[in-house]
């Protein structure tokens, strides 16, 4: 369907130009925050205004030498990795089960599995806060990891399900007919083929947790404050240039995650193309 647009008449060309202009403006709008904040983080001055008085790395030094920011980075990493691992296991198993399962209840179960993505986070946060507080699951890592896993699992489930949809189940049957027990079939045949989907699911889960702040606001004690949580209070009080440096670090991490996921997606598509 590529290059299907070949404007012939004058009015068609005018419409196409208008689309181009409008889209370009929207692209500028979409990129504006990132473009605005990156140079500011390298400013040598303490004010968030242009023109910059000079360039320096002092706000990055400030970030790296602040025990508060470093603790929050560590907390985010712990919670992010733990929820990614947990949601990858739960989400993958469920996706594997759902492709094989035939039942009239399937749409309902599917709705339950996907609902953490739809329900406003503040409702999840309040409900979990009421439920976890008497169980001693507030103000510690376990509670946060559990909630973030619940919020992230739908993304793993969707990603792995999409991979499985392109997966040729006859391969698994072939393995079984050659005498492989189910677990061996999974390890030797299914797993290597769905691994890219699994990996991008886990990255999605990590990104979800790494960016989540609402449940952290409700459940975290002072020792579990995550990077977004510190940013939230920082933005509330007074935006210091250090926050712009943190923002750039976070953006670089996002770009890294996005790149890996995109590469995995392309690899998966290529695999699918080869099998078809």
């Amino acid at each position: 369907m590529s290059a299907n647009h070949s404007p012939r008449t004058l009015s068609q060309r005018a419409a196409w130009t208008a689309t181009l202009v409008a889209a370009t403006l929207v692209f500028v709008f979409l990129m504006a925050p990132i473009l605005a904040i990156v140079p500011l983080s390298f400013s040598s001055g303490a004010y968030l205004t242009y023109p910059l008085p000079g360039l320096s790395l002092r706000w990055y030094e400030d970030f790296l030498s602040s025990p508060r920011w470093m603790l929050s980075l560590k907390n985010s990493a712990i919670i992010g990795v733990a929820s990614a691992v947990l949601s990858m296991i739960l989400g993958t198993l469920a996706a594997l089960g759902m492709v094989q399962w035939k039942s009239k209840w399937k749409p309902l179960i599917l709705a339950v599995v996907l609902s953490p993505m739809v329900v406003p986070v503040v409702i999840t946060a309040v409900g979990v806060y009421f439920f976890f507080a008497p169980l001693g699951l507030t103000g510690n890592f376990l509670g946060l990891i559990l909630v973030h896993t619940a919020l992230a699992t739908p993304f793993v489930f969707i990603t792995v399900s999409a991979t499985l949809q392109g997966f040729d189940m006859t391969l698994a049957r072939a393995a079984a007919s050659l005498g492989a027990p189910p677990l061996l079939t999974f390890r030797k045949v299914i797993l290597p083929l769905i691994l890219p989907g699994l990996a991008s699911g886990a990255l999605f889960a990590f990104a979800t947790s790494f960016d989540e702040v609402v449940t952290v606001l409700f459940l975290a004690g002072p020792d579990q404050r995550t990077l977004p949580r510190e940013m939230f209070s920082g933005i509330r009080e007074n935006i210091s240039p250090t926050i712009t440096a943190v923002a750039v670090v976070l953006t670089v991490i996002s770009i890294g995650l996005l790149t890996v996921i995109e590469l995995l997606r392309r690899r998966n598509e290529k695999l699918k193309g080869n099998m078809a």
Binding site: I34, I109, V119, V122, L146, V214, P228, A247, S254, I255
Partner: protein
């Protein structure tokens, strides 16, 4: 002989296949079960608990059990009998000793403003248990409110086990002394406005996203793949950037010493900085920015599947480009528009962080109030009731979205 052999073998084979299939289904269910159990514990039960809190009327029955028991036989006419007064006196003394009077006082104060004082002052002045038969006179002597019918209907209305008070309050309704549903007094009737504001902001953001997203999706869908993949980065990168990073950036851009105001002043277009943030404008800017990819991606995936042959056919039949666009192209994008708008609207009405950071006091949406009643004023009943209404609206819209998406074989691009 052969026939018998085949028939004999066929039955077990059929049964064996059936059994194998059943085992397979069982195993499949076993794979889904861990996630379901996990979500039960971390998601479904907590939210069900929250909804239960919106009707749970536990305070008065827990603090004043004897009064509640005594009032169960009261027909609501006139004043209750001496037994109820004696039970109240006993409950108040016990509650004062246990330090739980505040719990019931808070709940009753929702029903009648000023009830807190009545209850606490009565408990304070009730030094000793009244002589048998004198409870009524003693209590009315301490506070004449105990001789009023409204005081007792208030206690009865809060006697549980469930109440419609919070859910009614969430939609600006209340019950009068006779139990009939009436409009809340003006100073408490703020929630319909709040829902109206939430939906208005959601609708505004959805419209902006559609207007801005449509040309982008159209461009991406009609460019050669290599170019559209490249431009897609401009959509996906902001999508992947942390919500807080983007919110923070909008404040930097829009604040009074920010980039926009600085440039406009430098150009001499304005003398005073414009107020662009901590108001509705800032909320629209930041939320549209955050939600725009959710509009572009489903629109794009639908537009991508529209064959250019239709437009060519329309042109060859003599339709002017504008007619062809509105009559042929636009109708085919409706599923994408529907999915994108629903998705953006669903996400927008639940937003909390962005309005909290870039909005003023008059721009806070329903989520902010749910958080406020949960952590600040600790009115969990009302927080839960507002949450229940928001949840219901979201689930209804999500069900519609699900129907739409299912109808299109799941082409509506979520993050995958």
């Amino acid at each position: 002989m052969t026939a018998a052999f085949v028939a004999g073998a066929e039955m077990p084979l059929k049964r064996r296949l059936k059994r194998a299939e059943r085992a397979r289904q069982f195993r499949a269910l076993g794979l889904v079960a861990p996630l379901l159990l996990f979500l039960m514990f971390t998601f479904v039960v907590p939210i069900a608990g929250m909804i239960w809190r919106s009707v749970d009327d536990w305070e008065v029955p827990q603090v004043m059990p004897h009064t509640v028991a005594a009032l169960s036989s009261w027909n609501g006419q006139g004043l209750p009998g001496e037994t109820a007064y004696a039970a109240l006196a006993g409950d108040l003394q016990a509650a004062r000793a246990a330090g739980t009077i505040g719990i019931a006082a808070k709940r009753l104060n929702y029903v009648v403003n000023g009830f807190r004082t009545v209850l606490t002052s009565t408990a304070r002045n009730l030094k000793t248990a009244p002589e048998p038969g004198t409870a009524k006179d003693t209590l009315i002597g301490i506070n004449p409110a105990w001789g009023e019918h409204a005081t007792w209907t208030a206690i009865k209305s809060a006697s549980g086990p469930v109440t419609s008070y919070y859910l009614l309050a969430a939609v600006d309704l209340t019950r009068d002394a006779d139990g009939a549903i009436v409009a809340s007094p003006d100073d408490q009737a703020i929630y319909l406005d709040l829902f109206g504001r939430t939906f208005a902001i959601g609708l505004g953001v959805t419209t902006l996203c559609l207007v801005l997203g449509f040309p982008v999706a159209y461009l991406l869908a009609n460019l050669p793949t290599a170019q559209s993949n490249l431009l897609m980065i401009f959509v996906l990168l902001p999508f992947w950037t942390s919500l807080l990073v983007r919110t923070c950036a909008w404040i930097v851009i829009l604040q009074s010493e920010g980039i926009v105001n600085g440039s406009l002043q430098w150009l001499g277009l304005i003398d005073e900085p414009l107020r662009l943030i901590y108001n509705r404008f800032g909320v629209y800017m930041a939320m549209t920015h955050v939600l725009l990819p959710f509009m572009i991606l489903p629109l794009y995936s639908v537009m991508r599947s529209i064959s250019p042959a239709y437009m060519r056919a329309a042109a060859s039949l003599g339709a002017p480009p504008a007619t062809a666009f509105f009559r042929i192209y636009l109708p085919q994008t409706i599923p994408g528009i529907g999915a994108g708008c629903l998705l953006v609207f669903i996400l927008a009405i639940g937003y909390y962080i962005t309005p909290a950071l870039v909005g003023g006091a008059a721009d806070q949406m329903i989520s902010a109030f749910i958080a406020f009643y949960t952590t600040e004023t600790v009115n969990w009943g009302l927080a839960s009731a507002l949450g229940a209404v928001l949840l219901l609206s979201t689930l209804v819209l999500a069900a519609v979205y699900g129907k739409l998406a299912l109808g299109r074989q799941n082409t509506g691009g979520l993050k995958n």
